[in-house]
Amino acid sequence: MAFMFTVSPDFTPDHLSGWYIFNTWLQKQTGEGIHLEMYDDFNSQRQAIKDDKVDLIYANPFDAAMLVREKGFLPLVKADGTADEAIIAVNADNKVEDVAHLSPGVKVAYTDDPDVKMMGMIMLEPGDLDATNIVPVISDTYVLVAKHLLKGEADVGIFLAEAYDDLSSVIKKQLRILVRSQISVIHHALMIGPNLQHKREEIQQMLLNMNNEDKGQGVLKSLGFSGWGKVDDEEMEFMIDLMDTLVM
């Protein structure tokens, strides 16, 4: 029976093929049958986790807590030099200079990416804004968040910083950043479920060595990563504790 691998639905679409290449590499290295299943949205992926279908996951920090505490997952690695950060942006024509000048009733566009939404909402707090007094404009993608701002259908947009930076320069010229988070310690992680944990050290070592071999380097490039860094149990626990302080 093949193990099941999945990736948090907030991955950069440019790297979709990269995950398939990575999965092929992983199967060759481990000699295990691993099936990559990509979910379009967080709800369907969470249902698969709930049903114990997932054995390996590149998880967003929000889900990591549930995976460790409720499903017995353990961390393997994180992408070197990456952290999840969020951006609050407005239309360039908007007169608002500071989050503190926004008012209740403001229309906020965001995706269902849970950790980015959480970081964004934290950055709106200095303006006395919270889930009870904003008008949500739910968007399928960050490009649509940008479009809502450009068309005046939203006043404020919450972006994954990486996604904002990847927007075309034409779009970015018409937007303005109010706040960019600099949290540094919240990141995605590759995690391993109970059925595969007998292979944890072996897989972890393979991943850490990946950028030392030619084929591995090519696979990493297709994912947009320079290499993997080890995440030990305590580092993961620390990130989960930190996430707990932010979720209210």
Partner: protein
């Protein structure tokens, strides 16, 4: 260890007071009316052992407190205690986290240079194998409205 504040570290005109901290530590506090604004987009993070002794701080903590990392790690967290903070707030904090619950509140913190900064603080117990091994405290930028409310409320709680 925690030391009395030294006049040579203070920037600006200061007042002097002796605070009675947790575990009967007395500390001479020198404080000014100079506020350092909370930086946009950052989180101040620290962890302590179960007795409130600092075990880890991040760069934002170092930058905002004005201390060096080696002065902070090993010191009680009350190194940040500002005389304008009512002791009742910290009693509530400890009572809450010792029950295993999350505490949240607005805190005026004292800098090494005698100035201050306001934060929205959240403290949670770190549970490992069913045992509390310490606490994580995360501060974020507070709303000015809430800070103004606290400036009015806190003096009434002494």
């Amino acid at each position: 260890m925690i030391y009395d504040m030294k006049p040579e570290d203070i920037i600006g005109e200061y007042k002097e007071v002796t605070l009675q901290l947790y575990r009967s530590i007395a500390r001479k506090i020198l404080y000014t009316e100079i506020e350092t604004p909370y930086p946009d987009g950052k989180l101040i993070v620290s962890t302590t052992d179960p007795d409130g002794v600092i075990t880890h701080v991040n760069q934002s903590f170092i930058d905002m407190s004005g201390y060096m990392e080696e002065e902070l790690v090993g010191a009680p967290h009350s190194i940040l205690r500002h005389p304008d903070m009512p002791p009742a707030a910290f009693k509530d904090l400890w009572d809450t986290v010792k029950k295993g619950e999350k505490w949240q509140g607005f805190v005026k913190n004292l800098r090494k240079d005698g100035g201050y900064y306001w934060v929205k603080a959240t403290v949670i117990p770190n549970v490992r194998n069913g045992k509390v091994v310490g606490y994580t405290s995360v501060r974020r930028k507070p709303s000015r409205t809430k800070v103004e409310e606290c400036i009015k409320l806190y003096p009434t709680l002494f």
